[in-house]
């Protein structure tokens, strides 16, 4: 099967690139990008991905916000060496998978559970951060972590399913 050629940012190792490409053996992939830690922290990478991402699948601001939060989470919660972002259409949803190397730390789990339950901070006294997953849960229909903890998976309604 022909795998989708990724857009590369920075200099991820060839082994990492192969691993991430092989993690998404889907014939209907819409987009795949792979980046190293340096590129992850470069604002140009976020700009480029939002421009390259197939137009019309998601609302423009939702795409920006989802990407910004996923990249920020990768910087904040995980000592990421390589990150991959893959998207493919599944019915009326877009499945966006964020591949982490090394894999997603278990310390993220309670943060995700709280966000799933609708938690928002008390702005008067809680630390003024930790809004990333609450925002992602308001953008996505569902968020899961793959059983091998490599992928954060976001199921997002396609733009075409929203009323004008």
């Amino acid at each position: 099967m022909q795998l989708l050629e990724p857009t590369i940012f920075g200099n991820p190792s060839p082994e990492s690139v192969e691993r991430i490409k092989n993690a998404f053996p889907h014939p209907n992939s819409a987009y795949l990008t792979i980046m190293d830690n340096t590129a992850l922290r470069d604002p140009i990478t976020l700009d480029q991905i939002t421009k390259q991402f197939p137009a019309g699948l998601l609302r423009e601001f939702d795409l920006f916000l989802m990407l910004a939060e996923c990249l920020a989470n990768a910087v904040g919660y995980n000592n990421i060496k390589t990150l991959g972002i893959h998207a493919r259409q599944r019915g009326k949803m877009l499945l966006v998978s964020v591949f982490h190397e090394p894999h997603i730390a278990e310390s993220v789990d309670p943060v995700i559970r709280n966000a799933h339950d609708g938690w928002l901070p008390d702005f008067e006294k809680d630390p003024p951060n930790g809004l990333g997953f609450p925002i992602l849960f308001r953008l996505a229909y569902q968020i899961t972590i793959s059983s091998d903890r490599a992928k954060l998976q976001l199921w997002i309604r396609l733009k075409s399913t929203f009323n004008p």
Binding site: R41, D42, P43, L46, F61, F64, L65, A68, E69, L71, A72, V75, L120, F123, E124, P128, N129, L131, G132, P134, I135, R138
Partner: protein
Amino acid sequence: MAFKFKLDNDDLVVQISGSLTFHQHMEGEQLVYQVATLMEKNNIKHVRMNFSEVQRMDSHWLGVLIRVLRRVKEKHAEFVIEKPNTDISRLFDMVELNRIAEIRA
């Protein structure tokens, strides 16, 4: 991104522009520090954050706004966010920022 300050009697207007993401965390630190310093040195009653030139924003900058707001409230001054675009207004709605901040279209 960029920001500039204008003192007008007891009003402090903060004009922010550009795209506000986690990449500009140092600028966020500077903004919090500079607002706090201006609040210390002046008898400011109202802080107005003008968002008319901000195109987009992520959760990191929501945290920056909350930190600024706390500094302002410590000094018993009023905090207002002015003229956010529709996308940023939607972001504010998602996290219910209006629980603690006045947001003016």
